[in-house]
């Protein structure tokens, strides 16, 4: 479902230079300007209202250009730096692009009457994913990358709980369960990092950026690798269980700190949604269509993780039948 659901219509706006003019180039996604030419309407949106744009030229079915100097708007506060661009066709409905028009390049006219666009509705396109700026089609990765991290945190929490249970009870089976849960959690963590790197390449331009949450996630994977190195270097099962349970406690507590607390601190820059001054994850990235797929996906990935853990546990039990 994550891969097959289409994206809703959206527009992407860029500034291009042509001769001596600066033009606004509008590209449409899953929309057609030529087919909708008769019903096409464009507005510039300032805090004071919507102002119609009449001077534009349709270049192709998915692109049109608007000369910036012929955009008129009114702004009583005089402080607005960017205007939003709102477009409408019958099939597409109302779509917008925030902060698309630099206000300095457009013409500010005192007391220009604003239009009422409440009669124009969003198109009903069925079950679609929202079209977000920068993300575009990659929003589908939300169902893989983010849900996998949720599953991973669940598995590592399970490992942590069983490490504490071992500390309190000295039952070797609990130590086994903790190590298996951590192994599956680590596997999910590596996959999460890989999917995150692929996502970063298409949205942020590089496989790895200097982001607090990425660094924290990378360190966490290193910590759990060290956990398994520690386990492999002790032969006595009780000693191994004891030392690795202690390291598990430290690793989990610090890991939660690295990926949840550190990126949200004041003064830490982050590209991830919800940290470093970006709008929070739930309000920014999840609309209803996404939610329908996302919550079951989280449950699904968590179940897959625990299923893998259970298979490993049973394999271990079968290997150790004497």
């Amino acid at each position: 479902m994550a891969l097959a659901t289409p994206l809703s219509s959206g527009i992407q706006v860029n500034l291009i230079e042509q001769n001596t003019d600066t033009l606004l180039s509008v590209k449409a996604h899953n929309a057609d300007f030529v087919l909708g030419e008769k019903t096409l309407k464009l507005w510039a949106h300032s805090p004071d209202g919507y102002y119609s744009i009449t001077d534009y030229s349709i270049e192709g079915s998915d692109s049109l250009t608007i000369p910036l100097s012929n955009i008129h708007y009114a702004d009583s506060s005089g402080e607005v730096a960017y205007l939003d661009l709102v477009a409408f066709t019958e099939s597409m409905g109302l779509v917008g692009s925030d902060n698309a028009i630099p206000a300095k390049a457009a013409q500010r006219i005192e007391d220009l009457p604003s239009e009422d666009i409440s009669s124009f509705s969003r198109g009903s396109e069925g079950f679609v994913f929202p079209n977000r700026r920068i993300l575009d089609e990659t929003i589908r990765n939300l169902m893989f990358h983010v849900t996998m991290w949720f599953g991973m945190v669940g598995l590592l929490l399970f490992g942590f709980i069983y490490a504490i249970k071992y500390i309190l009870g000295n039952n070797l089976e609990r130590d086994l369960w903790a190590s298996l849960a951590n192994a599956v959690g680590l596997g999910f963590g590596i996959l999460g990092l890989l999917t995150g790197m692929v996502w970063a390449k298409y949205t942020w331009g590089a496989f790895w950026v200097n982001d607090a949450k990425l660094n924290g996630a990378g360190l966490g994977v290193l910590m759990y690798f060290a956990y398994f190195l520690l386990r492999n270097s002790i032969d006595n099962p009780r000693k191994r269980a004891r030392i690795s349970a202690a390291y598990n406690v430290i690793a989990f507590v610090l890991y939660i700190m690295f990926i949840f607390v550190l990126p949200r601190l004041q003064g830490v820059d982050s590209l991830h949604p919800g940290q470093g001054g970006n709008p929070a994850f739930s309000s920014y990235d999840l609309d209803n269509a996404l939610r329908i797929v996302f919550y079951p996906a989280v449950i699904g990935w968590t179940f897959i993780g625990f299923w893998i853990f259970d298979i490993l546990r049973r394999m271990h039990a079968l290997n150790n039948i004497n």
């Binding site: 360190l219 520690l230 004891r242 601190l265």
Partner: protein, 226 residues
């Protein structure tokens, strides 16, 4: 009873420090590393005329040297006891006494090295902010946090068969965020030095130190028993 418990702690600490001084190779190696690293920096930067290097580079090198010192001193203090002397201490001391004794003896040697390095850098690079309350506060919090962390890690690593490698491998992912906090604090030290010392700039470092210390005190009694 209480006074004998407290005096046991000081006696144990005194024993640890005496052991450090008797097995001078560890202390000597660390001091030599400090001096050699300082001389390399002096030769490479000052003598060859590259004095335009950013102070943050010098801070990074300072902390690289300190990491080596801390890993070395904490590992050697635990590995010294690994061949049976720790069993003797188990019968004698409460685990937290043992832990704080090891921690404090490592802290004494690493603070000595950090002060030595500070004095050398202050002379070589003429950074006036190195003799200031803020610098010493950051340095002390950083050294204390790292020493606590590596004391705990060394106690775990000393129980394994590849203790030297594991002490580093286990400790580094945990030490990196602490280093980032320290270096972030030091990157604006020129400004803070001009404005005067305030505790809030150290808050994240202090919280991290507190977290590590409380985890260590909770977990060490569980780790040390055999």
């Amino acid at each position: 009873m209480t006074s004998s418990k407290i005096s046991r702690n000081w006696v144990f600490l005194g024993n640890e420090l005496r052991a450090e001084l008797r097995h001078l190779q560890g202390l000597a190696a660390q001091t030599m590393f400090v001096v050699v690293a300082s001389y390399l920096l002096y030769a490479g930067l000052v003598l060859l005329g590259h004095t335009d290097v950013s102070s943050q580079v010098v801070h990074v090198i300072f902390w690289l040297v300190m990491i080596f010192t801390i890993v070395n001193s904490t590992s050697s203090s635990f590995f010294r006891d690994a061949s049976g002397r720790d069993l003797y201490y188990y019968s004698l001391l409460h685990p937290l006494v043992y832990f704080t004794g090891k921690l404090l003896s490592s802290l004494v040697t690493t603070l000595f090295h950090s002060l030595l390095l500070t004095l050398i850098f202050h002379q070589v690079f003429a950074y006036s902010y190195m003799i200031s309350v803020h610098w010493f506060a950051v340095m002390f919090c950083g050294v204390a946090g790292m020493t606590t962390l590596f004391t705990l890690i060394a106690s775990m690593a000393s129980k394994t068969s590849q203790s030297q490698i594991l002490a580093v491998v286990l400790g580094f992912p945990l030490a990196i965020p602490l280093l980032l906090f320290i270096l972030k604090n030091l990157s604006s030290i020129d400004l803070v030095y001009a404005q005067g010392f305030n505790l809030s700039s150290l808050s994240s470092l202090l919280i991290f130190d507190g977290l590590i210390l409380s985890l260590s005190l909770l977990l060490f009694p569980y780790i040390w028993g055999d």
